[in-house]
Symmetry: none
Subunit: 336 residues, 3 copies
Amino acid sequence: MSVPQAASSLQICRIMRPDDANIVGNVHGGIILKMIEEAGCIVGTRHCNIQNGDRCLANLVRVEKTEFLFPVFIGEVAHVTAEITYTSKHSLEVQVKVMAENILTGAKKLANKAALWYVPCSLKNVDEIMDVPPIKYASAELEEQGRNRYEAQKMERVETKARIEEVMSSPPNPEQHTVGFSQSSLIHLVGPSDCTLHHYVHGGVTMKLMDEVAGIVAARHCNTNIVTASVDAINFHRKINKGCVVTVTGRLTFVSNKSMEIEVLVDASSLVEAKEEKFRAVSAFFTFISLDKDNKPLSVPPLKIEKEEEQRRFDEGNARYLQNKVKRLANKERQQ
Amino acid sequence: MSVPQAASSLQICRIMRPDDANIVGNVHGGIILKMIEEAGCIVGTRHCNIQNGDRCLANLVRVEKTEFLFPVFIGEVAHVTAEITYTSKHSLEVQVKVMAENILTGAKKLANKAALWYVPCSLKNVDEIMDVPPIKYASAELEEQGRNRYEAQKMERVETKARIEEVMSSPPNPEQHTVGFSQSSLIHLVGPSDCTLHHYVHGGVTMKLMDEVAGIVAARHCNTNIVTASVDAINFHRKINKGCVVTVTGRLTFVSNKSMEIEVLVDASSLVEAKEEKFRAVSAFFTFISLDKDNKPLSVPPLKIEKEEEQRRFDEGNARYLQNKVKRLANKERQQ
Amino acid sequence: MSVPQAASSLQICRIMRPDDANIVGNVHGGIILKMIEEAGCIVGTRHCNIQNGDRCLANLVRVEKTEFLFPVFIGEVAHVTAEITYTSKHSLEVQVKVMAENILTGAKKLANKAALWYVPCSLKNVDEIMDVPPIKYASAELEEQGRNRYEAQKMERVETKARIEEVMSSPPNPEQHTVGFSQSSLIHLVGPSDCTLHHYVHGGVTMKLMDEVAGIVAARHCNTNIVTASVDAINFHRKINKGCVVTVTGRLTFVSNKSMEIEVLVDASSLVEAKEEKFRAVSAFFTFISLDKDNKPLSVPPLKIEKEEEQRRFDEGNARYLQNKVKRLANKERQQ
């Protein structure tokens, strides 16, 4: 990995601090996601402004499914490398790699790999989408692969709509290990530090809040040290602007022998607009695992299902779980 | 250049930043409360360690009712002056004054005055309360007045217990301007920065979270720029330690023509303790007012009462409101 | 309780938190530099606005060489005292002292002494430099000494230009203990919290980032606990404004038996401006030492020189090292 050369790649690094981690010293997945998005936003915005015309900002619209390969610890230096890997007429793909370096031993490990999609919005008129200057590909094959990824995500984004379900409600005195017992919500008033140059919340800030709630749900369910194992593809349906109150709610949908799937919903509403329109901005599934003192996975208590819709969500989660397992095995075989 | 004068007084100052304020530029009351408590904790801890014996930490047990006299703005410098004004065998009173200075015009205004009670806890054994070294009073009259304040708060602390009500619940689709409509909750995972020395949350951190929730409740009710006008006496019933999840919930109890009273409850529970014992750590009443563009008070929409217990809480709030009004008038007359 | 005395002096204090320190508990030098600059900016801005006329802001243009005399630890209270010690027609000198107080034992130590030069810029037109109201000196001798310091720094500021070297580049797979091995970069998107009044980054924020990168370089070279020992005089050539991306790069220039000299370059460029003009905003030399568990200095691995220009920079660093050694000895003798 080399130092920032071209406008289309970038490297960030930062020491992980106590506030970035839980009490055991594991850096929160949300902190990693936030760094990844900051790098993506810089490299994307910089690229979209290399041409003449209105100034614009790269706006996150989608993060592909991402896996946390190794836990990162306090005192380690996280190196985030971002590179533009595909451009369509109105969107661009940034691939990001996170290496964690123990500066005392020199050991390095690959902590995360992610792919993000951005759309450039004019600074004059946020609803106007601008053209993306094309990049040059090292080979026709790389371009072809990029186009396939582009088509695949486009189709998925059209299919997936924000889940516009009712407010999550829970029984007053839930029993331990039920869905209602661990369900958690937080509200956050969007402040200046959460926002881009525009007055819109960085996608990374939203992901950090989502990871925080998911982590509390997971810890309440199993009362152990928990870490983010993966995040499903996330689509950002609506921009959230300054002065909004964001409500982030998480609930368990599925529990396997050693993992928990948590659905997280993000709703936003303006504090000062009288009409008080509340909208579903983002939704995603986070998977957490429980670790013992030596960072080995622990068993997770089973989930007590009480209602019909909980069973339906459990079955859907189980299907996702099995699908991912099949994919992982296929990937392994291909690599052999 | 001189070093901190006496061990029993202290001055802190800091420029107010964008992140300390709402979008209109008014610094959040919670930021002021947090600075006040930091000053109190330093001066109290320093005083209790001037003698030989076990090292100890001043632990906040009570804040007297405090009024926000003037709003503070971004870019102003807040000067917080703290002084020990009374000591009993096991507790001490710190009086704190906050001046806001506009460094461009030189204008200064008194933004806040507060009184806090601390109890020294041994660093070896947090449950052991230590002796407080006595201070010297400038006059017998000052000592007498301090003793009266001490007796008064002692009696109140014995009387007030944490309100051990059930979890606040709200109807699924509440109508605007009802109690359920604006009720809000946040959860916060206690991190290292919340607890400096010891492994217990600073009282100031808790007050900041309480103010944040109360502010969201108030803004949801009237959709305007709102600021903290006052906080009732707060008793800290239980210490909250690192690794806890704190749930802070606020709901409207009373609305007058130009003010809103919000009850805020703080519950804490350990994330990693299997028994998952939840406890009510703090409860208090915050009063907010709504301001127009020139910082003049606006009318507040009336509160729609739907349930019997809401009416009961409204009447109690009204009684507190009238009591405060009488007190304020009496104070004014005394000063004339 | 009294309000800030004279307009020309100020005291700030704050408890050091876990996030201010490295994993061993040593507070980062960058945190101290940031507090020093905040105090200087307040006292300077306040002073320049005591007269009628346009309101203005004190803008940091230079920090004199500063030494870190004692490490500061988490839980200690840092007292920063700032005083205006000289005024010329268009600039003023602020001398700052940092005392670290252990509030449990009452022990105090002098952690740092620094001198900063500010120039007042009009709030209406940032490029307009304002007049500085003169201060009164306690003696003609003090004024004379101040004038000498003023003339000396003026000459140096004219001599030193920002080092306009090419971007630092490094070999792809560097060997351990070479310059390329430990070279590090970080990128920071300037946010609202970095710029309080005006839309320009506080000098203290930049110094904190520089110290962070230098610390990473030093730790990578010797894989031990490292702390800032001193910072060379820093000249701030250009203002950095909101919306800029700042790239901070550090590389080893010289290593003695027990110290490492790291050159840090700060480049800034606008994210959205098409011309993408990158400019060198600041450059400086940081010296770090390596500490064992008892905070005693350790030996540092020698630096493997690979290129001609590395040797040239090493020799220049060696000359600075020897010069400082001579100065320190001369100071000692003078004090005896």
